[in-house]
Symmetry: C2
Subunit: 205 residues, 2 copies
């Protein structure tokens, strides 16, 4: 009576706090599986094949793109990054729920290829707060931050293509909301056909 | 930026534990409003108009049925019971979420009249457990229990018309699942159009 796992797409503008929410969820829901991405960039010290990333050369990556083997992929400067479809599908078939933490463009690609996924949009409560967060991170130059902010603004227009929106104002609240969404989705009738069938048979005895 | 409240229909066979779950939710989510039913039966000692029930005579109740003023209603022996539509709609407009604890037949009536409601099916883990619970309650005769059991079996076939199913195996787990569904539903994109619009305007500044 194992129903299929759920693919959860956690997405939102850079600085929304996706990564922090994911890290907190990892603690709270140890059964969630985090998808491993594929990349053409070289492994860094300490990175492990199949754990940090699946490392492949560009030729192989491009061949896989041709074969439609990715749920989503992107070229970032000189390298490719993507989510291998088969890897995720295998986990879902085993009844495991998989979480993907990706940007808006990636999420829109997943939407086209696997619309049954659950799409959660993480949004900072205001542009000012997003701006402060990006500055506080101290990893981006001022002009990069400006680009991210204007991108965040245009990307919010895509929120209607998602299933849920979680405003990341107070972190524990946002984490609790995402966890609630996962628990609720697991109760959806459409995800429990086998369980209902099982109970029904018991009842019909 | 107040979005509309959510109408939650908590339903399931007699003995599934709807009432117990509702009572626990009341503690956990004090902002939830419990719909007040209308009835033609006489008030019992201690019952208050507008709190326990709206008490009306049969003539008035029948007139309201004619006017399609109920989300659902039923005749039980010589009396009528129903959920007044306007009362619930007013609460929802104020942004309050309302919970209805009703039987399957009632839920199916609400589904026809207000399909935007969230329908949760509470189901006991097995017929044996349901049977034990009904016996332990000690309120029904053996033949009434048999009738309830066979009704529960046929009603499970209607589960596919619901949004969620919650197996009431361990009570605190079931309560947590229902609470999660409410929190998740509040994050649905379709219920946050105004909030998204508000954030969007901030961003567009």
């Amino acid at each position: 009576m194992t129903d299929r796992g759920i693919l959860i797409v956690l997405s939102g503008p850079s600085g929304a706090g996706k990564g922090t929410i994911c890290a907190a969820l990892r603690q709270q829901m140890p059964n969630l599986v985090y998808s491993v991405s594929m990349t053409t960039r070289a492994p860094r010290v300490g990175e492990e094949e199949g754990v940090s990333y699946f490392f492949r050369d560009k030729e192989e990556f491009k061949r896989l793109i041709e074969e439609d083997a990715f749920l989503e992929y992107a070229q970032v400067y000189d390298n490719y990054y993507g989510t291998p479809k088969q890897h995720v599908m295998d986990l879902l078939s085993e009844g495991k729920s998989v979480i993907l933490e990706i940007d808006i463009q990636g999420a829109m690609q997943v939407k086209e290829r696997f619309s049954e996924a659950v799409f959660i949009y993480i949004v900072p409560p205001s542009l000012d707060i997003l701006s402060n967060r990006l500055r506080d991170r101290g990893t981006d130059a001022a002009e990069v931050i400006d680009k991210r902010l204007s991108k965040a603004s245009s990307e919010l227009a895509l929120a209607h293509r998602y299933d849920y929106i979680v405003v990341n104002d107070v972190l524990p609240d946002a984490v609790e909301k995402v966890a609630s969404i996962l628990r609720a989705e697991a109760c959806k009738i459409k995800r429990n056909k086998e369980k209902i069938q099982y109970i029904y048979k018991q009842y019909a005895k």
